[in-house]
């Protein structure tokens, strides 16, 4: 058994440990944020709106998809629903990190989830799980440090992207970086039958249904993929 490490580090020290743990991940996040900024402008989103979306939604993949739907003038409810579907995975993060935050006062329980991105979750849960028992003291400082670091870099890279978007010529096909970014995220996860099934079904349906208005094809494809992946993975 791992030995229980009494966590007596002060809050500020936890904060800086979280900051340092998050740094290597920024290498992937910063280009992502910049590409988002560029794409947002090509979709007809204003610089202020692009920045506001990074501040309020603060979830890269869904922001990319929102720009696609905005570009084709999809109805509001459909765009918001698509954002919601893409971000449903956060419920899993929320569930897995919840036990470590239960001792905190309500203000923390309400604020910290705002920072619960893929990348902040990844380093924070790894840190929390290292300790064999839940630390009642200052572990949330780590989460805050990691989360704020990511927040700052996301806002900054969006701003850089928005600036570059006005400079980079259209014929560079930079919109293709969206597909490439998702390839980088999805391909390494294609390791069990349920996920592979979901990916294959999603691709087929998305291509076959591409003619549907307002990118409805994306939602249709995602739900077909979830059903197929769920029932085929079951067996």
């Amino acid at each position: 058994m791992t030995q229980a490490i009494p966590n007596s580090r002060p809050f500020i020290e936890e904060f800086w440990r979280g900051f340092r743990a998050e740094l290597p991940l920024l290498l992937g996040v910063m280009p992502f944020g910049m590409i988002y900024g560029v794409l947002a402008l090509t979709a007809g989103i204003s610089p202020a709106q692009a920045q506001a979306m990074s501040a309020l939604v603060f979830a890269g993949s869904s922001q990319f998809i929102a720009t696609q739907l905005i570009a084709v003038n999809a109805p509001i409810y459909l765009t918001v629903f698509t954002i919601l579907v893409v971000n449903l995975r956060h419920i899993l993060y929320s569930a897995s990190i919840a036990p470590y935050l239960q001792h905190l006062p309500p203000i923390w329980k309400v604020f910290l989830p705002y920072l619960l991105t893929d990348e902040a979750y990844a380093v924070t849960i790894a840190e929390f799980q290292k300790h064999s028992e839940v630390s009642p003291t200052a572990a949330h400082g780590f989460f805050l440090g990691a989360g704020l670091t990511l927040w700052g870099s996301w806002q900054a890279s969006t701003a850089i992207g928005v600036f570059l978007g006005t400079v980079v010529p259209q014929n560079w096909s930079l919109d293709f970086t969206l597909a490439l970014t998702f390839i980088a995220i999805v391909v390494p996860t294609l390791k069990d039958r349920a996920i592979v099934t979901a990916a294959v079904v999603a691709s087929l349906v998305a291509v076959l249904a591409v003619g549907l208005p307002y990118k409805l094809s994306l939602i249709v494809a995602a739900f077909c993929a979830l059903l197929a992946g769920y029932f085929i993975g079951e067996r």
Partner: protein, 104 residues
């Protein structure tokens, strides 16, 4: 105005997904079936987008050889599988796209 509403409601729903289980922790556990379904969400959504961007870049299916995005995606997938490096995947994919577009 439309875009501002999308940002506002998109922000609220996203926050609620993050808050959900931290708030509900002591009252409700995610059932196993839902957990298994949620795990598939990223692969499902992202694959749909990849497929459209690669095979139907301008909203029309293009499976011909002059669609350089197909080759670029294949190269990029190989890099992603081997290295798991996001930056390198994007770089190789874009360079492949540019080179083939230039050759054709």
């Amino acid at each position: 105005m439309t875009i501002w509403l999308i940002i506002l409601f998109g922000g609220i729903t996203t926050y609620l997904t993050r808050l959900s289980m931290i708030l509900l922790f002591s009252r409700w556990k995610i059932p196993a079936w839902l957990q298994r379904a949620l795990r598939l969400v990223p692969a499902a959504v992202f694959s749909a987008i990849i497929a459209q961007e690669v095979f139907a870049p301008s909203g029309k299916l293009n499976l011909s050889l002059n669609n350089a995005r197909i080759l670029a995606a294949i190269f990029a997938s190989g890099v992603a599988w081997k290295t798991r490096n996001v930056l390198l995947t994007i770089l190789i994919g874009m360079v492949t796209l540019w080179v083939f577009n230039w050759l054709m």
